[in-house]
Symmetry: C2
Subunit: 490 residues, 2 copies
């Protein structure tokens, strides 16, 4: 065996164990008996220890030195393994362990603080998490930018400077669009009524199938928070139902199918290798968001969904597909990011991006965070935050030290905008097919242009190769402007 | 940390990873997408490699040398770890790997051979498995008895000689009882009709609850072959339904609850330690069989079940609890061990025990196995084997190198007989409670006397402590004689 073969055989086992870890997470959120939590924590900690020891195994360094990388795919595999290995090497083991311990505790404190609307309860733990994260960032950055060092885990190669440039172009136009929509005379009704769970789950499965989800390599279960989990031949999704809000079920299903199809569609040659997973959170989110929004919330597709909902639930008070389209896309300011419409969503993310940059840079202290949040929220949303649970305490991310993660949501939307423009250009009759519930022309295009490559190209390169242009915020803004100007007659 | 603490911390992680392995098996048999099999095999192989390396880690040897065992529980933990470690050390890694590879392949060949009724297809693979097993036995036995060396994995301390003594006392009386039952003039009808799956599953859950299964630390799913899986706080069972055979569903559920309750009831102090699992396959089977047979198929309990079945399914053609009791316990010779009644079951096991002893000792060659099987079967059951799938190919065990496993089934029945006699002595009004569907007096007694101890005592010691006498085949035979003499009027 060559050094490259040894490296890849070792890595393949590590990837397989990583999949096992993911499956434990899936199990915990879907089928685990409630009383098993304590034992499960030990099981996951034990497996995490195994994974950590493998990822820091010094043999990796030797193999990396000797590996033959004349083949370009081999070169990319090695590059990704090296990048991860070097990053892991740079963080002292004691710091890693302290972060794991502290975030585990902080997560619980955050949940309690959110439940009791008590930021002061969370503040000391968040300060600890932030301090450790800054320490980790300093170890990784080696004199460079702290935020870049953290964001690299989620969006390899992304920089604060580039994100800042893109996002500061985005924000004023989003705020302006938001204000125009809010000022519209046209009232879009809210969906009302009760929608039986059985019908929601049945139609949700049908939607998963319509978007190409492969149940031979996946399954759908219920969970409190929908998620997608796993890579390769076992990629599972979850959904949830709310009696009066079937869109929550349908669109979270389509969203998770976007994530899951990405993982399912990756070239089989990359199975259980570093290239066998989606390349970044941003590209991942581009798939989930284009499935959910540019396709799933399009006028054409909602026309089909309108019929399916009428067949499933009977008359539900909306009598024509045009009104239904508007209802699906109804805009309203709200406190909660995960419930936001397409116009408001990125404003939620940009707020978090700016605040966490300040936290990581040391320009903002944790005790001052709620005021900073509330001020910025009122500025961008025209709404006063009424309680911490609707503001600074709403998201789990910071309790888990996921600094640098938030921007990938908006990056995903930006990428989805770019992909949608190129897709519409390449497949001019797309709407005629979407109107029949046929997403294949779009999902085939995405599989071919983006998904099958897995981790072969850098995130930005994937988008550039798919669209023929470097990613930019323009297409997303144009899409949002056109869509919501029409819906709101502005 | 002392050497003992180090050893136990390491062992605890290994036990936790062993639980993860078990969960992957559960997942595979219940919820895994069909297309995930290939990837799952890699995941399990990777985790198996981790477990193997941990179990052979040389640090264990050092810790064992230095561990303080003045506390008796610590002494027992160390004894169990040492025993396992020394056994693992004795088997060369190449032989372990060859066995893993060969059994994996042999399992597939066996399934195909059974499906096509072609023993010749399986014979070469079985020969390979047997040769490797004998090699392993020789490495373990170090000049001692080969069969003992293999059986120790399933029934620590069991010896071929002791089993042979017990079983040769059992067999003639079982054969005699069988012949008396078969010669009875009294005809016991077979259950007939169709029993809706929903009712079967609902009543099966009720039965699980009635036998004390704790759903806070477990769950019930459907699987092709019912099994119980996991220890401690996460012990899951599966069941199956057959439209015309609800007893299959009900009694396999009760059987698996017996296994599961044993694991759930073990002293929490032993969680994720070598004492935190059932001590042997025989003791495990004693719990599943006493739940299933001595309790679940008792006249008292079937009276309650008769009412519950009538409430669930309406009139199903049996009008009184006495007939129902006989129907539940109906005896009929059959080819398949897993479908056998209480009178025939152990004769199936004894046949396998004798044949596999001959195989391991080299007194019987694989090509001669079918004839040996068929001759013995006809002698004990008065029935000619019609095809290999109903004979030598029916059980999976030998394809998986589980030589020495079969006797634990009958040992379990023998232990169940001993426990039942002692239980009936200690709890004289048991039947009055069973007749109300209340098993608590029995299951509490079993938890207290057997289950809570986990691996604290040697298998025979557990039974002796619970019953006040060394285990023997007498109580089982007396129980069977009395029960079936009455049912069949012989």
């Amino acid at each position: 065996m060559s050094a490259y073969d040894d490296l890849m055989a070792f890595q393949r086992e590590t990837e397989a164990l990583g999949q096992v870890m993911g499956r434990l997470g899936w199990d915990q959120e879907t089928v685990m008996p409630p009383g098993a939590a304590e034992q499960r924590a030990e099981e996951m900690a034990a497996l995490d220890g195994v994974l950590h020891r493998r990822r820091t195994d010094p043999r990796i360094g030797d193999w990396l030195e000797q590996a033959d990388t004349s083949d370009p795919v081999a070169a990319r595999q090695v590059q990704k393994i090296r990048h991860r290995y070097e990053r892991t090497q740079r963080v002292p083991e004691a710091l890693s362990a302290a972060l794991a311990r502290t975030t585990s505790l902080a997560h619980r404190v955050w949940a309690e603080a959110r439940a009791t609307n008590d930021f002061a309860l969370f503040a000391p733990k968040l300060t600890e998490v932030l301090d450790l994260s800054r320490e980790k960032a300093a170890a990784l950055a080696d004199g460079g930018n702290l935020y870049d060092a953290l964001a690299d885990d989620y969006e390899p190669g992304a920089t604060e400077a580039e994100l800042e440039t893109m996002f500061s172009a985005l924000r004023p136009r989003l705020v302006a669009l938001r204000e125009r929509v809010m000022g519209s005379e046209r009232a879009v009704p809210k969906l009302s009524g009760a929608f039986a769970e059985e019908g929601q789950l049945q139609l949700s499965s049908e939607l998963a199938g319509a978007f190409g989800y492969d149940l031979n390599s996946g399954r759908i279960d219920k969970a409190v928070h929908p998620f997608s989990s796993g890579s390769g031949l076992d990629v599972r999704i979850t959904t949830r139902t709310a009696l009066e809000d079937p869109f929550n079920c349908f669109y979270s299903t389509i969203h998770e199918v976007g994530h899951a199809r990405y993982e399912q569609a990756i070239d089989r040659d990359y199975l259980l290798t570093p290239l066998g997973r989606g390349v970044s959170m941003g590209v991942h989110e581009s798939q989930s968001r284009i499935y959910e929004n540019q396709l799933g919330r399009s006028r054409a597709f909602t026309g089909w969904l309108f019929d399916r909902m009428r067949s499933t639930f009977g008359d539900f008070g909306i009598s024509d597909p045009d009104t239904f389209y508007a209802v699906v896309n109804r805009c309203a300011p709200g406190y909660i990011r995960t419930e936001a419409d397409e116009v408001h969503y990125n404003l939620h993310v940009l707020l978090r991006f700016d605040l966490e940059r300040d936290l990581v840079a040391g320009r903002l202290d944790v005790p001052d965070l709620p005021d900073a949040w509330n001020d910025r929220f009122e500025r961008d949303f025209g709404l006063k935050v009424d309680q911490p649970a609707n503001g600074v305490l709403q998201d789990v991310h910071w309790s888990e030290a996921l600094f640098g993660y938030f921007p990938t949501y908006t990056l995903g939307n930006v990428y989805a905008g770019c992909l949608n423009a190129a897709l519409r250009n390449d497949v001019p009759d797309l709407d005629a097919e979407l109107a029949k519930g046929n997403t294949a022309p779009a999902t085939d295009w995405l599989r071919e242009k983006v998904q099958r490559h897995g981790g072969l190209y850098e995130p930005k390169t994937v988008i550039e190769k798919a669209t023929g242009a470097a990613p930019s915020e323009g297409p997303l803004l144009d899409y949002l402007d056109a869509k919501f100007s029409e819906i709101y007659g502005i």
